[in-house]
């Protein structure tokens, strides 16, 4: 019942097949995500396993260079870590953190937005002003604050394990507000519509009215925002890792790889930073292209 109608689905599919950029973006994104998921099967090396690192093979350039060696297609870093494997595993972490933080933001944002919009009054004011406060602080500052504080609270042996969870929490804390606002605005519109009054006449409980009647009618703008925010979340994670407060070097995400590579940029070891950067760009650009297409495709004025 929540899924879009068949007609709508075929409209969306039609517009998808007509948009070359969306198709290319979807194919690229699918490949990136698939290779990230199956990284353990594809990657020549497990970059987390110090036993597989060979110091004699460190600082090898990419394979097309004269000094390059098989199977280190994209070269190795100063520890002898294969860059291709590190990138595949790093993408995996970035994608997981991106998806998890968008999912958590959606959960928090949708429920708070629905409650604020449906009940209005004091509840609405409190929730939305709290959101305003969070929005008035730059995302990156909130994330730095949360990740530093939470990390200090964790026992040392859990710090590395918990860092992905901390990152998700930090990104969610500022991410949910946008969903909450969008859903709240839409809920206020839908609540006054007569089909909601009809349900209230039947004494349908408020929770069920919100979830089954109102929520499905607010999802169109949310889908667009969630897609675009998936790209943003990956970027925020990369920024935090680049600043050294995200994923630790033992479990590098794309941001961590860029931070490590950045140190060697001027020693001529360009491949250590360039390939993770390219991968990150490819990932975020394809997500954003897909989000842009979705926004246009779901906009009735542009049909």
């Amino acid at each position: 019942m929540i899924s879009l109608s068949l007609i709508r689905k075929s409209d969306l599919w039609y517009s998808f097949t007509r948009s070359r950029s969306a198709m290319v973006a979807a194919i690229v994104l699918a490949m990136l995500i698939l290779t990230a998921i199956f990284a353990p099967l594809i990657a020549p090396q497990n970059p987390y396993d110090p036993a597989q690192l060979d110091m004699w093979k460190s600082e090898l350039p990419p394979i097309w260079d004269q000094l390059g060696e098989w199977p280190y297609v994209l070269g190795t870093d100063t520890q002898g870590r294969d860059m291709l494997s590190a990138i595949l595993y790093g993408t995996r972490i970035s994608v997981v953190i991106g998806i998890a933080s968008v999912a958590l933001s959606l959960l928090v944002g949708l429920s708070l937005g629905l409650v604020a919009g449906y009940f209005g009054g004091v509840v609405d004011n409190l929730l939305m002003r709290f959101g305003d406060v969070l929005l008035s602080i730059p995302t990156i500052l909130i994330a730095i604050l949360v990740s530093t504080v939470v990390r200090q609270m964790l026992p040392p042996e859990l710090r590395d394990v918990g860092s992905s969870a901390v990152l998700v929490l930090a990104i969610t804390l500022s991410g949910w507000v946008q969903y909450a606002r969008t859903v709240r605005a839409q809920t206020i519109v839908e609540r006054s519509k007569e089909y909601v009054q009809a349900a209230r006449l039947l004494r349908v409980p408020a929770r069920r009215i919100m979830v089954r009647h109102i929520l499905p009618n607010t999802l169109t703008p949310i889908m667009v925002a969630a897609t675009l925010n998936f790209g943003m979340a990956i970027l925020t994670e990369a920024t935090l890792s680049f600043l050294g407060i995200g994923m630790p070097p033992g479990q590098p995400s794309l941001g961590t790889l860029i931070r490590i590579g950045n140190q060697f940029l001027f020693s001529g070891l360009w491949w250590i930073v360039l390939f993770p950067v390219l991968q990150l760009c490819l990932l975020v650009v394809s997500v954003n292209l897909l989000g842009d297409w979705l926004r246009d495709a779901l906009n009735p004025k542009l049909r």
Partner: protein, 314 residues
């Protein structure tokens, strides 16, 4: 037998600006008196119509009667129904485009009352009842699998009626059920509602601004102006012998096929803002019969030969 007794019902809305704006701009709190001290009864199995211009409080009365708004003052009492407990009111809404959830299939829309009120036990019984209801309102049982946007306005209003009937109500509040429809479709819907009233013994509170629709539907008519009932009478009495000057004005606005260019008195002025209603009788600034006392004293309801009317000049 009366189905519904309403006594001295009032409803006020707080339409003040937000606290911050009030403080900064030194504005007082503002209240809108949407319904002001109205009393009426609806006979069991009959149809009472409320008529009046936009903004006179008709729809607020509908929402008060169904319980969507709590009354500020006054009382409304339903008579006991067939099962012994008080009648429950269901509603048919004005806008057939907003009254059906666009993401639900029609069969689920109609089945919702059955499921919520647990009127049928098994899935098969629910499906059977939904198909029966679709047939009752003149649609095909196969229409249940479609979405609301696949139907025309008149068909949507039929779905709306089927949903209202699903909860087996004995009292139906119809808030301008035909005003969003074409004239030809209006007649179909009205005839359907008349038929259902006869077959199921329904009681209607019918709300409309269209006097010709009301004449077709109702036993008794109450005319509202700015939140008050100004005249209430049996349908034919009201049309034959209107007492209140506002009722006379309304009747003159009905188009007459036999005499399209008859000399109509055009009423001066607009409906005053309900935020700041005129003192005394609220109709006095537009009234051709206004006297000195009309702008001072609120006229009381009086009964003159079966007609209840609130006017100093009658």
């Amino acid at each position: 037998m009366t189905a519904l007794t309403v006594t001295h019902l009032s409803r006020t809305f707080d339409v003040s600006a937000s606290w911050l704006n009030r403080v900064v701009e030194r504005k007082p709190r503002q209240f809108l008196q949407a319904v002001n001290d109205i009393s009426f009864t609806v006979p069991l199995g009959g149809c009472l119509s409320l008529v009046g211009e936009s903004g006179c409080g008709k729809s607020t009365v509908a929402r008060l009667v169904t319980g969507l708004y709590p009354p500020t003052k006054g009382d409304l009492r339903f008579a006991p129904g067939k099962k012994g407990d008080a009648l429950s009111a269901q509603m048919i809404f004005q806008d057939p485009y907003a009254s059906l959830n666009p993401r639900w299939r029609v069969k689920n829309i109609i089945a919702e009352p059955l499921r919520e009120l647990k009127l049928r036990d098994t899935k098969a019984e629910v499906t059977e009842r939904v198909e029966e209801l679709l047939r009752i309102v003149g649609l095909s049982p196969t229409d249940g699998a479609k979405f609301p946007h696949e139907f025309s306005g008149g068909q949507r209003q039929r779905i709306s009626i089927a949903r209202a009937l699903a909860s087996e109500p004995e009292f139906l509040v119809c808030d301008e059920p035909t005003s969003a429809l074409d004239v030809s479709v209006q007649a179909q819907i009205l005839n359907l509602m008349r038929r259902l009233q006869d077959e199921l013994g329904l009681t209607y509170l019918f709300i409309s601004h269209d006097l010709s629709v009301v004449r077709h539907m109702s036993n008794r008519i109450a005319v509202m102006y700015l939140g008050r009932i100004v005249e209430e009478a049996d349908t034919e009495t009201l049309f034959a012998d209107p007492k209140h000057p506002y009722t006379k004005l309304l009747l003159q606005t009905i188009p007459d096929i036999a005499n399209p260019h008859r000399d109509r008195e055009v009423a001066a002025g607009e409906v005053p803002s309900p935020l700041n209603p005129p003192k005394g009788c609220t109709f006095h600034p537009r009234c051709p019969m206004a006297m000195a006392c009309c702008s001072i004293e609120i006229p009381q309801m009086r009964e003159i030969g079966g007609t209840r009317v609130a006017c100093h000049a009658v």
